[in-house]
């Protein structure tokens, strides 16, 4: 406690040296199982600290080590090096086996986000059961995105930071094969040329020319 206020008072005058900030980041990131944004880290560090700069140093320090600093969306986390995964078999938590429908739905959401339920159904050619979406929501791999500005204003789904964390992705842009799929036009929402059998109950937003993935990657 006394140290606490002392540190903070000191910080009113000058930020701690960068190596000290790096130590702080290291301590904060090690202590957390969840990824932390630089903003969250800055909140816990003395005033005047620049976590972004210190992070560069920290990442470098852990290059090639048994654990490493990884980027997860706009957050950071320390994770074990993938090549050492075999040593940790005992730590493996038996994850619930995902159904094929759930896996496919997840992939469609990841690659087409933000995507409506009707769009998922069109791609899979089958209606998406409530349970599948609920399971993915519960696992916190997907969440609701913005509503589409189309008739009925349907909700959309997008993937979460936990999804990126789980699959070791820095961002949804790093999804494997994304560029190729886009180049092949397979991420376009191509309206069916009429008379095609329509799937599911939510046929109302099928005809829209959705911007799809592009929306996500513009920024």
């Amino acid at each position: 406690m006394p140290q606490d206020s002392e540190k903070k008072e000191q910080s009113l005058f000058r930020a701690p040296p960068i190596f000290e900030q790096e130590r702080m980041l290291e301590a904060i990131l090690f202590a957390s199982a969840e990824p932390l944004t630089t903003i969250e880290m800055a909140e816990r560090m003395p005033h005047g600290c620049d976590p972004a700069e210190a992070m560069v140093h920290l990442c470098r320090r852990y290059e090639g080590r048994g654990v490493r600093v990884v980027r997860v969306g706009d957050a950071w986390a320390i994770r074990t090096a993938p090549d050492l995964g075999y040593l940790m078999q005992r730590e493996t938590i038996e994850t619930r086996k995902l159904s094929r429908a759930a896996i496919e739905t997840l992939a469609i959401i990841a690659y087409h986000q933000p995507v409506t339920r009707a769009e998922i159904e069109e791609i899979r050619g089958v209606s998406v059961s409530r349970g599948t979406v609920d399971q993915l929501l519960e696992m916190e791999w997907i969440r609701f995105g913005r509503r589409k500005m189309t008739p009925g204003r349907p909700v959309t789904f997008v993937v979460t930071q936990a999804f990126l964390d789980h699959f070791g992705l820095e961002s949804a842009r790093d999804l494997p094969g994304l560029k190729e799929l886009r180049a092949a036009g397979l991420l376009e929402n191509r309206p069916p040329p009429g008379l095609m059998p329509q799937i599911g109950e939510g046929g109302e937003d099928e005809d829209e020319a959705a911007p799809g993935q592009n929306e996500l990657f513009e920024d």
Partner: protein, 262 residues
């Protein structure tokens, strides 16, 4: 129609196809809808999905549906809807285009179906690649003993200058109030007025202004006069209630008069 399609297939190939269709049918519950079934059927063509023959695929699908009917299997409605559409597509693809007919051409529809199949296959591949990645909790691990961030709750009290001044004003004005006590010597009570009037009422044979009943010493000082007027008026009403006097006022603010009731 189905039989026609099989004519140009060799006998052995036909048997193989039928067997394949039967094995698919046994497994019909395993399909995730007609598109999934079409995708599975398309694999028998052993070509790139981009080069697939939609016409052949339509034939295969329709054969499958025929087979299911022959085996008296209940197919879900969407399989039958797809069958109807594919039959329609097939006819469009086989017949020369009718210039009078509107709507998409058979080629457009076939192209879209091929696109749908390719897209579904692409998503399946993506799903597989995704699941094969180094995954958290399986290949990559997070901190085993995360240290929880201790929440230190600090209460900060606030008050505004207004609170302060109101508080001070409250204390300082508290002393200013003492219990309200009437200044008795300026008061002529109703009881006093009633007693006084009872003694005098017998003489009021004619209408008399009630103000003439005000006692001595209560007519000049405004405060005393006000008190005596009020009590005399109240006493008059009391006497009316008792049936001893009548009371009248010719108009608003005119003198109130009373006289004995006989």
């Amino acid at each position: 129609m189905v039989e026609d399609d099989f004519e140009n297939v060799s006998g052995a190939a036909r048997i193989a196809e039928r067997l394949a269709a039967e094995s698919l049918i046994v497994d019909v519950d395993g399909f995730e809808g007609p598109l999934d079934l079409l995708l599975t059927l398309s694999r028998t063509q052993k070509v790139d999905l981009r080069k697939i023959s939609v016409l052949d695929l339509a034939r295969q699908y329709l054969a499958f549906v025929e087979q299911a009917k022959a085996l008296r299997l209940e197919l879900a409605a969407d399989y039958l809807v797809m069958a109807a559409w594919l039959a329609f597509l097939k006819s469009r693809l086989l017949l020369p285009p009718d210039p009078a007919e509107d709507g998409p051409s058979g080629e457009d529809m076939a192209a879209h179906l091929a696109f749908q199949l390719e897209r579904l296959q692409a998503m399946r591949d993506c799903a597989a690649r995704l699941m094969a990645r180094d995954r958290l909790g399986r290949d990559v691990f997070s901190r085993g003993i995360p240290e929880d961030v201790a929440r230190v709750r600090r209460v900060r009290y606030s008050a505004t200058l207004l609170d302060l001044m109101q508080g001070y004003a409250r204390i300082r004005t508290r002393d200013e109030f003492r219990p309200f006590v009437m200044d008795r010597d300026a008061i002529f009570t109703m009881e006093q007025a009633l007693e006084r009037m009872r003694g005098m009422i017998g003489f009021a044979g004619t209408w008399t202004d009630i103000l003439s009943y005000l006692p001595d010493g209560f007519t000049t000082d405004p405060m005393r006069r006000r008190s005596a007027t009020a009590s005399t008026f109240a006493a008059s009403l009391e006497l009316v209630k008792e049936g001893r006097v009548e009371i009248r006022q010719s108009e608003t603010f005119a003198p109130i008069e009373l006289r004995r009731k006989d």
